[in-house]
C-alpha cells in the first residue's frame, strides 16, 4: 500500500536510492541500450548513460545534498557534464528542472514528485523541441508524467502511483517501435528508423522503473 500521496515522506535518501537503483539498472542494461542505439544511432547510449549515472552516484556520495531538490539538481548537472551525447543535456535538464520544482523542502510528497516529473518533462520538450510521436525519450517520459499526475489526483498510494508511471513509460517506449524518428540522430535515417525501439525512450522507462522499485521498498 505504501505512503499516502500527500505525505511528505520522500527524503533526500529516497532520491539518492533512486539514482543508485537507476545507475544499477542502466549498468545492467547498458549493452542492450547500446544495441538499440547501434540500430538507429551511434551505438553509445548505454555507455553514455552508464558513465553519467556512475558519476551522478559518485557526486551524491561526495556532496550529500540536504534536500530532494538539491539531489536532483546535482544529478542533472552531473549528467549534463558527463554523458557526452544528446541524452546528457536532455536528462540533465529533466533532473535539474525537476529538482528546481521541488524547491528547498527537506522532504516531499508523491504529489510534489508528480509536479517535479511534469516540470522535468517540460524542460526536455523545451530543450529538444520533440513532441510525442517523434520517437524520443519524450514518448516514455510524457505518459509517465501523465500517469503519475493522474494517480496522485486519484489519491492512490505512492507504490501504486509509481507503478502506473513505470508501466506508462514502458508502454510509451514500446510504442516508439513503429515510429519514424523526427528528432535526434535517428531522424537522419528517416524511414530506416522504423521497426526499432528508441534507445532514449528505453532508458527513460528504465529510470522510471527504478523509481518504482525504490518506492516499493520505501
Amino acid at each position: 500500500m505504501g505512503a499516502e500521496v500527500g505525505a511528505e515522506v520522500l527524503t533526500p535518501a529516497f532520491f539518492g536510492a533512486w539514482i543508485e537503483e537507476a545507475a544499477r539498472s542502466v549498468r545492467a542494461e547498458r549493452d542492450e541500450l547500446t544495441r538499440l542505439d547501434a540500430a538507429i544511432g551511434d551505438a553509445d547510449h548505454g555507455t553514455n548513460l552508464d558513465r553519467g549515472f556512475t558519476e551522478a552516484v559518485r557526486a551524491l556520495g561526495e556532496r550529500c545534498p540536504a534536500t530532494p531538490g538539491a539531489v536532483l539538481v546535482l544529478v542533472g548537472s552531473t549528467l549534463i557534464r558527463k554523458v557526452g551525447g544528446a541524452s546528457g543535456p536532455l536528462y540533465g535538464t529533466a533532473f535539474r528542472e525537476a529538482g528546481k520544482a521541488l524547491g528547498d523542502a527537506p522532504a516531499v510528497s508523491a504529489a510534489d514528485l508528480a509536479a517535479a516529473l511534469t516540470a522535468g518533462v517540460a524542460g526536455v520538450r523545451r530543450l529538444g523541441s520533440a513532441a510525442e510521436g517523434d520517437k524520443t525519450m519524450v514518448d516514455a517520459l510524457a505518459p509517465a508524467a501523465g500517469a503519475l499526475a493522474e494517480a496522485v489526483r486519484e489519491g492512490r498510494g505512492l507504490d501504486d502511483a509509481l507503478g502506473a508511471a513505470s508501466a506508462a513509460a514502458a508502454a510509451g517506449a514500446a510504442a516508439t517501435i513503429p515510429m519514424p524518428a523526427r528528432k535526434g540522430r535517428a531522424s537522419y535515417l528517416g524511414p530506416r528508423s522504423v521497426g526499432h525501439q528508441d534507445p532514449g525512450a528505453t532508458s527513460a522507462a528504465l529510470i522510471l522503473r527504478a523509481l518504482h522499485t525504490v518506492a516499493a521498498r520505501w
Partner: protein, 123 residues
C-alpha cells in the same frame, strides 16, 4: 568583436573548420573550437564548450554553431543574453559568420550572415 564557437562531435572537425573559416576571413577573428569529449572521444562536452565560450566572449556576444542535433542541445544550454545558437550549415555558416564578425558586425548581423550561408552557392 563577436566571438564564434564551433561545437562538433569531433575535435579535429571543429578545429579544422575554425582554421578554414579563419583562412577565408584573412583578418583577425575570434573563432574557438569545442569538439569531442574531454577525453578526446566523439561527443560533446559542456565543460569544453563553457571554456570556449569564455575564451570567445570579448563583450560583444558569442555565436554558437553546432554540427549535429546533439551538439545543438549542448549549445542551447549556454543560450542567454549575448549567447545565441545558430541552426546553420556547420562549415558554410562558420565561414559566413566569421567574415561578418571580423568586419565588426553585431551579434544579430553575424547570426543573419550564418543563416544566409544556407543559400550560398559554391558553383
Amino acid at each position: 568583436m563577436v566571438g564564434i564557437v564551433l561545437i562538433s562531435h569531433s575535435g579535429p572537425l571543429a578545429a579544422e573548420t575554425a582554421a578554414l573559416a579563419a583562412g577565408v576571413c584573412g583578418v583577425e577573428v575570434v573563432l574557438e573550437a569545442a569538439g569531442g569529449t574531454e577525453d578526446g572521444g566523439l561527443g560533446t562536452s559542456p565543460d569544453l564548450v563553457a571554456a570556449a565560450v569564455e575564451r570567445a566572449d570579448r563583450g560583444d556576444g558569442v555565436l554558437l554553431i553546432p554540427d549535429l542535433g546533439g551538439a545543438a542541445l549542448t549549445a542551447r544550454l549556454f543560450e542567454g543574453p549575448g549567447v545565441v545558437v545558430a541552426d546553420v550549415p556547420f562549415v558554410e555558416g562558420a565561414i559566413s559568420a566569421a567574415v561578418t564578425a571580423s568586419a565588426g558586425g553585431s551579434l544579430e548581423a553575424v547570426l543573419a550572415a550564418a543563416e544566409e550561408a544556407r543559400h550560398f552557392r559554391k558553383l
